[in-house]
Chain length 362, copies 2
């Protein structure tokens, strides 16, 4: 049995997004466990939550989906595993050939539990592929200057090939100052404006591509889904997913449209799309009727919705109503187990790319 | 009588663009003087040409357009004049208040006549508003190092607030190296990837916006055309016009689609657009049937087409078939006299902005 709350998404107009920090920022949305119509006015009760994006899918849920769906399931978990295996092999080859081990430094300021979980997961992921990880944990009341000093040290440290400042930073920090201090050569998150500029420009190459959109495109590539000449609609224009995803699709000669909270009748755009990438953080917003038969759907949203029948009290759903969409699309990413696991895989990939570039290792 | 060759644009698929350098890169297209049907296979004969973009419209042509068109004519020449008057006043106010005169340095390498004309026009435009201009002319066989030395000197010179390297450079130059050497603080062309990155990112501000797309948006603003929530289609994805124009429209909450040489059935996109910006360099490509009634059309193309009946042997047409479009659109820029004159006005504006910023002058 699949719980669905697709019917709770009754508006065709996107709601303004909450600011996204880190890998994925999520909303807790109280929903009814079954299709019981749209929520009342005072509903949903929203608070932002961050969840680790590579949470494993419930086997029961995955099995149910498979029997009902006609679309090919784009298995991000399996692709991410494959990529991690490839990275493991490359890290080992590099170590054997030139004695260099890629290194990722992560700076965590404050005591947010979700951020601590992210950092722990990144550390574990590094270990699993043989990448060295360096971690700095600073108290909530640290000064900007202290963080800048660590960044500066990591910038100069030849054993560090990637630097990542876990967001969000405590409110007394100027996030832009901190992020700008990370050397462009070690900006494995790919969020530096210089990287984004190069991503936008024809004939220029970014040093790093932001991890989540890179993961989306990698899934399309690995599933042999052609992009050139296709109509692609990106839902959401965030700096970390929507905008760079659109730029990446355009670099591969898709015709892109970017829809967002100010777009009227977004479904008119999505219905014409061969490829949809949704990164908006609205549970089940994209209904089956929004999708052209045969389209490919990449769902970046990882939205926790309360579910009293779940052991954890909630479950994760995407921006797309999977149950409906999987009957119409030709291929679709599930949530969880779609784009989520790709983000950390791409972070590891960017760290490896950086180490290879710095040491001119092919 | 208006010469039209709209019928020579028979393909609904955009042709690949030639690389664009400098303000506008144009194609010479041999066309029949009147509607005589599509050209033969070996036709058009194309060679790239650069033309000064602020060429005055023929008064006869402008008058004829007015009588036949129902669309409001967006008079770029007049708006550009108004902006230059505003700049003149601001330059004078700044000089009187703090004794600083904005300065623009232009570096010209080689002996291309069109480039020399551009540089001369920029110099004249500076003089007309009271901005100091500094010009360096170097021979075709100059070394990269020499040019870099001049750029470095201008970067350090406090009387220079904007630096512009006239493109194209001779073929032995690495254009990227040269452009990257210009201080981001003085990059009045706005082509630096850091500027483009900031333009693409929400919550970031570019130091300079590229002149031609800035001119397009300025025309929309000055004619009171609202952008928020509108569907905008940009034709062409060049670094200097199409891509930044799309990013600017998105910053103002339009829903953007970017169509290009690989887009199938581009007219399906344009027919849904409230605002069309065309920057593709294909004479009369956008037909009346491509336009939604009441749409606003900004035509960046300045394409010289041979015209034996013209005194000069050619005339300038846009990417849009003006004759057809002006009957369907609610507002449209003519060519010449539309976007063209705005480019240099925006260059002057960027130079003034730079000087004000450097001297913290409000």
């Amino acid at each position: 049995m699949i719980f669905t709350d697709c019917s709770s998404s009754t508006t065709a107009r996107l709601l303004p997004l909450s600011r996204q920090h880190g890998v994925v920022t999520l909303r807790r949305l109280l929903v009814c466990p079954l299709n019981v119509g749209p929520p009342s006015r005072s509903f949903p009760r929203i608070r932002t939550l961050t969840f680790h994006s590579s949470t494993s899918p419930s086997p029961v849920l995955a099995a149910s989906m498979d029997t009902e769906a006609s679309a090919k399931v784009i298995d991000g978990k399996s692709v991410a595993k494959q990529i991690r295996d490839e990275i493991t092999a490359e890290v080992s080859r590099m170590k054997d050939a030139i004695g260099v081990i890629p290194g990722l430094a992560v700076i965590l300021v404050g005591d947010r539990k979700d951020s601590a979980t992210y950092v722990r997961n990144k550390k574990k992921a590094c270990e699993s592929v043989g990448i060295n990880s360096f971690e700095v944990q600073l108290p909530e009341d640290s000064m900007e200057q202290e963080v800048l000093k660590f960044i500066s040290d990591f910038n100069d440290d030849p054993s560090v090939h990637g630097i990542l400042v876990q967001l969000p930073l405590p409110s007394h920090f100027n996030e832009q100052n901190i992020l700008n201090a990370v050397s462009i050569q070690k900006d494995v998150d790919g969020f530096h404006p210089l990287n984004i500029g190069r991503l936008a420009m024809r004939g220029r190459e970014p040093l790093f591509v932001p991890c989540t959109p890179k993961g989306c495109i990698e899934l399309l590539h690995r599933y042999g889904i052609s992009i050139k000449g296709k109509r692609a609609v990106v839902i959401g224009r965030s700096n970390i997913v929507g905008m760079p995803a659109a730029l990446l699709l355009q670099r591969e000669d898709a015709t892109i449209s970017i829809i967002h909270s100010r777009t009227k009748n977004p479904e008119e755009f999505t219905r014409q799309a061969d490829i949809i990438i949704s990164a908006v953080g609205q549970p089940n917003m994209v209904r089956g009727s929004w999708i052209k038969p045969g389209a490919v759907v990449i769902d970046v949203g990882i939205n926790p919705v309360e579910d009293p029948e779940s052991r954890r009290g909630y479950r994760l759903v995407g921006d797309v109503c999977y149950e409906e969409a999987s009957k119409i699309a030709s291929a679709i990413t599930p949530v969880p187990g779609g784009v989520g696991p790709m983000t950390i895989a791409m972070l590891l990939s960017n760290t490896l790319v950086s180490a290879k570039r710095m040491h001119n290792f092919q």
